[in-house]
Symmetry: C2
Subunit: 242 residues, 2 copies
DNA sequence: AATTTTCATTTGTCATACAATTAAACGTCT
DNA sequence: AGACGTTTAATTGTATGACAAATGAAAATT
């Protein structure tokens, strides 16, 4: 685990990279304790603040966790799905907000990936998943629900759909695609009429999954994608006129 | 932009969160310069090393970049697809390696998502994408190619397939799913016979995309998934016996 | 006008010190 | 002996001050 003295990069970045590579390569295993900051400083021949900056970089990626006190220190962190979700969502959200991604492009990606889960979800969804979907559908039909709550419920519904596929890797991958869309969706004003249409499509999806009919669910998702794009287009048009 | 003095979390983590939230909320826009470290230290009422640790956390997520010298400082970074790819791949790779995800589960997720790109790729792939795929297929047929190079070429092939969909958000989302599998794929020894089978399926996929036949491409991808799982099972079986 | 020099600003790094936390080791009392 | 509080050593968290290195602007010089 060495650093390149003639590199132009920050020392803390180099040290972070060296440790990160060691973790990825399996030289440092989960829950293994890294040397103390003082020891690392000596090993890399830098000061402790520099080592600390490197460790904070790794902590920001959830690669390590630190614990104070005697027998504390920095430990290789087992990356949990939950933490990975969070990073995925943050990254995806920023990517969408900073790169002028059109609503249609983001929407297309999201629904295409979601449809990929549908056949599996039709086979494997548990009664729990179905119950969650039904509950969210009911919630979406409540009058007086704010647009933001409606969106949040929408995300919960789709998340249940994705989780129904019973593949945690897919759930993780989809988290970014679905949740990162939420800020974009929040720009839409959902009229009673459009909510009714969406609830109808959600019901069709839930029914199809209950009947283990993947194709029907996929078809409803296609329609939902098209309808969502239409809603967004209307919002844009109204905004341009106003 | 405030921090909570009674929180138990590290000050640097709180400060990083405050700035990150400001970026996500749009209070700090792309290329905007943050106050100098000294000013931030004063604003948050902490020392400069603490501020620096916070900034390094943000730099690790590519949220900011720093520049030395007069009129230098920390700037809000435009998150590029390339950087987002990198983080996605790192996170996904660690997730797969640390959570004892079975090969089948990872493989299923990858091919399911990839199939989601196929119909779009069949419609939109450019001659360039096709040429890349053909080139990689040719490469994969070369005798004397190492297993690692074969895997790398495989990734390049599938990446061209995904990019062919012409949706950068999908390409970004898929980067993790495809590249994170590589370490798992590298465990497989590809015999001349199995390479031939894979090249054959790749050719079918390329042909289907050239003919704009999404269904045929999807079908070939399904077979490729099944075949890959079979290969992995054989390796596992051999390892158990040996 | 072009070039060089100076200079102020800012990040990068170092050294040192102290506070806060924590678990183990130790000692005391029952 | 065992339960329970106390000390202690190790380690991270934070602060202070200093200097080096880079960098662009401004001033001085040719």
């Amino acid at each position: 685990m060495k650093i390149d003295p003639k590199s132009s990069a920050d020392l803390s970045a180099q040290i972070a990279k060296a440790i990160r590579d060691a973790i990825i390569a399996g030289d440092l295993i989960v829950d293994e304790r890294l040397p103390s900051e003082a020891e690392l400083a000596e090993q890399f021949d830098v000061s402790r603040p520099t080592v600390r900056e490197a460790l904070k970089r790794l902590a920001a990626q959830s690669l390590i966790r630190t614990q104070r006190g005697a027998f504390g220190g920095a430990f290789v962190n087992r990356l949990r799905y939950e933490e990975a979700y969070g990073q995925q969502v943050t990254t995806s959200t920023l990517l969408l907000s900073m790169n002028e991604v059109s609503f249609d492009v983001a929407c297309e990606a999201r629904y295409a990936l979601e449809r990929a889960c549908t056949p599996l979800s039709a086979q494997r969804r548990s009664p729990d998943h179905l119950a969650t979907m039904r509950a969210e559908i009911h919630r979406q039909g409540q009058p007086g629900l704010s647009d933001e709550s409606f969106c949040a419920s929408d995300v919960a519904f789709h998340r249940a759909l994705v989780d129904g596929a019973g593949n945690p890797v897919m759930s993780y991958q989809l988290a970014g695609a679905v949740e990162a869309m939420q800020p974009l969706m929040n720009m839409i004003t959902f009229t009673a009429r459009s909510r009714e249409a969406i609830v109808g499509l959600h019901t069709r999806i839930a029914d199809a999954l209950e009947a283990s009919d993947g194709a029907a669910a996929e078809s409803a998702l296609h329609e939902l994608e098209a309808y969502t794009k239409t809603l967004a287009r209307d919002v844009m048009a109204a905004r341009t006129r106003g």
